[in-house]
Point group: C3
Chain length 398, copies 3
């Protein structure tokens, strides 16, 4: 891991707990570069789902900032992750976003790596060259019920205990039996932290998200509390446990090892996160019906899932530059669901499409204001507790 | 005010009086950021005219660099200026460039500020929260005969004495009774200082501005001197005082408190700054006719006005990035003038439109050359005295 | 010459001979700025050919990074090079890419320079002003058999001895009797060093350049060696000497004074670098036929020429920004050749057009991977010897 620049050390002193971060965390190129090296490259990142690479040789790329990771199913059927950087002169070795390969041949000098990352041979590299030393750098990998997480660091946050606790809670959703139904990207001219913070609190939901606020109680804690008991009864009926689990921020076993699980009620009349309240797709996994609830799952601070009884959203905020971030949404349904017959992409994506358009707008205005030399981080509301938790881990890691 | 970066201190030593500034003043991102914080945010800026906000609730934004200032007429009819940055997490609270509002509701979490900038209440901020501490930061404000100036600093340059002296000189123009007839922006890929310097000297007028040079004597000091006495006679006849006032550069009471007033002759045949020499609009204020003169008024180093007997131009150079500047021109006529009947926008704007196109070109070429590592600031001509005056205040403030 | 930033000194320590340069050499803005000041502005650069400026007053600009150099034939018919920066306030004095001029009049304040760079007079600069002190800064100039090289430094690399040795080898090509037949630019989003390195090795030719590899043996050293003797016999027959000359890298008399000459065979059936193997244009200079060879000439590390018996390519890699480079190709044929009759631009440019499209792609992927924080420079192959030679001079100069 690279050294902390002096600037970062100074900046951390300016942070006041219970407030937003100081301006430079959102405006400094040095901080951004350090964010990638010291935070993103040390964090668990949700890369995709096993259904994307069913056969040996199938692969896809997961790119963020200047980084690119190859996720591939090798000849033995095992999933692996490699850094997409040739060990010779650094070219990307894989340039298609997804596909099927027998090996990865660097497009520059044809160094050829097998699916497990080993360099087969360095063409014309002379007799002293040992290909065994020049395999692709591996990324760490965890497959949790079909969800693929990667980490570019040799010493990733210790997430296993958290995942073990999460396992029985998530089990009924049958996450290993999903298919990706839709994927959309909403680019926003803002630092990734402003986009992530936006997702981490529902203090803004009431004023900013008309459609979401109509159906989801998260924006009104007291109403949520009131509707919780009846939801839990319905959840049990369809086969869902009702425990909660909050191992985030101060409760996380280590920085970056956050895991979170909570199901909360929709308003009466809403069986799922749909426009009309009705089901959008076949019920997931072992569930026997729709309970009108939504589960927030967080695996590491950067990876969010919102699980209804009939579909699932993956939400991530991918840095592309200092003030360029892609809000990326992935809609998933049960693996055997068929578009047209079992679900309509337009209906499925409606709610979070309109909600993400709202978010793009408010995050953009947030960055504009934060760019002002007159920005002073103000006090956070109780409903913004998640942000403070994120800062705690982030500041410990950078 | 933030600290002077070490780089700035070093750079100031490289400046040689009577020459242009060293290269880094036009090419360094650090200098640019410091320019905004230490110069623009400490300077008086011409934001607009009272006629833009006649009614309570009317507002407009004045944006520069990363900053945004709300200029609004409050419920009591008083004009106020606020920094457009929410005191919670920094979002812009006002996102329309102009309009009418009963309050400013932050688009993010709905913190609501009244027109005087007070936070009405922080929704769900808990019992210990004191809204009185989180009003919008105020900007300083001066309304001079209808022209609105703002300054984002708590300790703005002491401009009042200068404005008091300027008042009787400008009085006959009736500046408080104007309307904006046209507004145009000429983006130029250059640092704001190169754009401002261009306005500050007429050494370039003869070679660069064919149309302007045909009608205006400023480009030929000895011809100007010769035609000055007859002009002053005509000026007196139409009700204009003939004093001059130069409180700029070494004569300014303090850095940034520059004020300037001088009327100079057009060439015979030109009653005003028009293509054919004839009037373009009704005479301003109390004037009884056209004298064939043009007055340069400067309020602070950044705000320039060119006043003919029948119309007025406001000229400013707004930084948008290190080498991105908007040359912004505002044409104003008497408040009761009607387009079509009393003036034609095309005729009114002709001269300074073509002149600004020239300026965009020459400022662009200037920046290209200054970007060279081989640029060495050369000696300034006598006719470029205004630039040296600007440097004096600028270097004192940064 | 400006000081070495501390960052550069540190970075140089991270370089391991026999490997690529460390990441920051390709990603740091500070390094890029220093590259221009300490390397490009100190290096010999191929600007063009005498045929571009046959008459007194004819000129063209050669631009790179933030720099611009005027190459002009003065009234006495002598070729001169001037830095295109006004000595007053730094404007470009010449804004057309090529043309014919009697003098250079600065578009800003009309300072007027004669073709030899002398300032004629500084308009209105007062009695103490000495125009003799404010001529355009000269660039160093060498005309080698019609090829024009410039260097913005007062102490350019000592290239004369190398050029003297090169002279008899290049003589038969009649380089002073050429015309430019075509010129194409391939912008690539990569640092200039990655583009240059690509040209400096043929290790990538076999996997990356199908068309080139079919006709040129450079990609297969042992085949090249085998075909060398028959080529040399043919070369002698058409009037070409068969010596080689390698004064690059460790063999260069001084950093930046590299000169290289070697002719190597095409595959049987290829008389020249054409699609079908047949001639593309009249034989150059004194040559009596086509020998099926290609000569690599290098003058300074930045300037490459590939000389067939019937045409010539100039290849250069012009920095436009940190990760913006123009690959620029200039095709030249004998001075009396006529398009349509003696050559077809489409046929002439085919090979290196398709080859450059390949290069743009692979250099782009190289930069993508090098941008990763996980890039570690790997060992170079023997076939990449030229790159190590380039580094040696480069690291000595910056």
């Amino acid at each position: 891991m690279q050294q902390r620049p002096a600037e970062i050390v100074d900046l951390k002193k300016d942070y006041v707990e219970g407030h937003a971060l100081p301006r430079a965390f959102y405006t400094s190129r040095e901080v951004y570069d350090h964010d990638i090296a010291a935070y993103w490259n040390q964090s668990w990142l949700w890369a995709g789902h096993v259904s994307q690479i069913p056969e040996p040789g199938d692969y896809f790329l997961f790119d963020y900032g200047p980084e690119s990771i190859i996720v591939v199913r090798d000849r033995d059927g095992e999933i692996r992750a490699h850094l997409n950087v040739c060990r010779h002169r650094g070219s990307r070795v894989c340039v298609e976003q997804s596909g099927s390969a027998r090996s990865f041949v660097c497009p520059y000098h044809a160094w050829t790596f097998d699916l497990s990352g080993q360099l087969r041979a360095g063409r014309a590299m002379g007799p002293d060259f040992d290909p065994g030393e020049y395999g692709l750098f591996p990324a760490q990998l965890r497959v949790f019920q079909g969800l693929i997480f990667v980490c570019a660091s040799d010493s990733p946050p210790p997430i296993d205990a958290g995942l073990a606790k999460l396992a029985p809670l998530a089990e009924p959703f049958g996450l290993d039996n999903l298919k990706i139904a839709a994927k959309r990207t909403y680019p926003v001219p803002a630092n990734w932290k402003l986009a992530l913070e936006n997702y981490m609190e529902c203090y803004h939901c009431a004023p900013s998200h008309k459609e979401y606020a109509r159906s989801h109680t998260l924006k009104a804690p007291e109403q949520m509390d009131r509707l919780m008991a009846p939801l839990q009864e319905r959840s049990r009926e369809i086969g869902l446990p009702v425990e909660e689990m909050d191992q985030t921020g101060p409760n996380a076993p280590a920085p970056g090892a956050d895991v979170y699980y909570r199901r909360y009620p929709l308003y009466p009349g809403y069986e799922t996160g749909s426009r009309d309240g009705h089901a959008l797709a076949p019920t997931l996994g072992a569930l026997t019906g729709l309970d009108g609830g939504a589960t927030d799952i967080q695996v590491g601070p950067l990876n969010n899932f919102l699980v209804y009884a009939d579909h699932l959203l993956g939400y991530r905020f991918i840095p592309r530059g200092l003030q360029e971030t892609d809000i990326e949404l992935v809609w998933m349904v049960r693996g055997d669901a068929e578009e047209g017959r079992d679900y309509s992409v337009e209906d499925l994506t409606w709610l979070w499409h309109v909600t993400s358009l709202d978010d793009e707008r408010i995050i953009r205005h947030n960055q504009s204001g934060v760019n002002s030399h007159h920005f002073r981080p103000g006090p956070l509301a109780d409903m913004e507790w998640g942000i403070t938790g994120f800062y705690q881990g982030y500041l410990a890691m950078i």
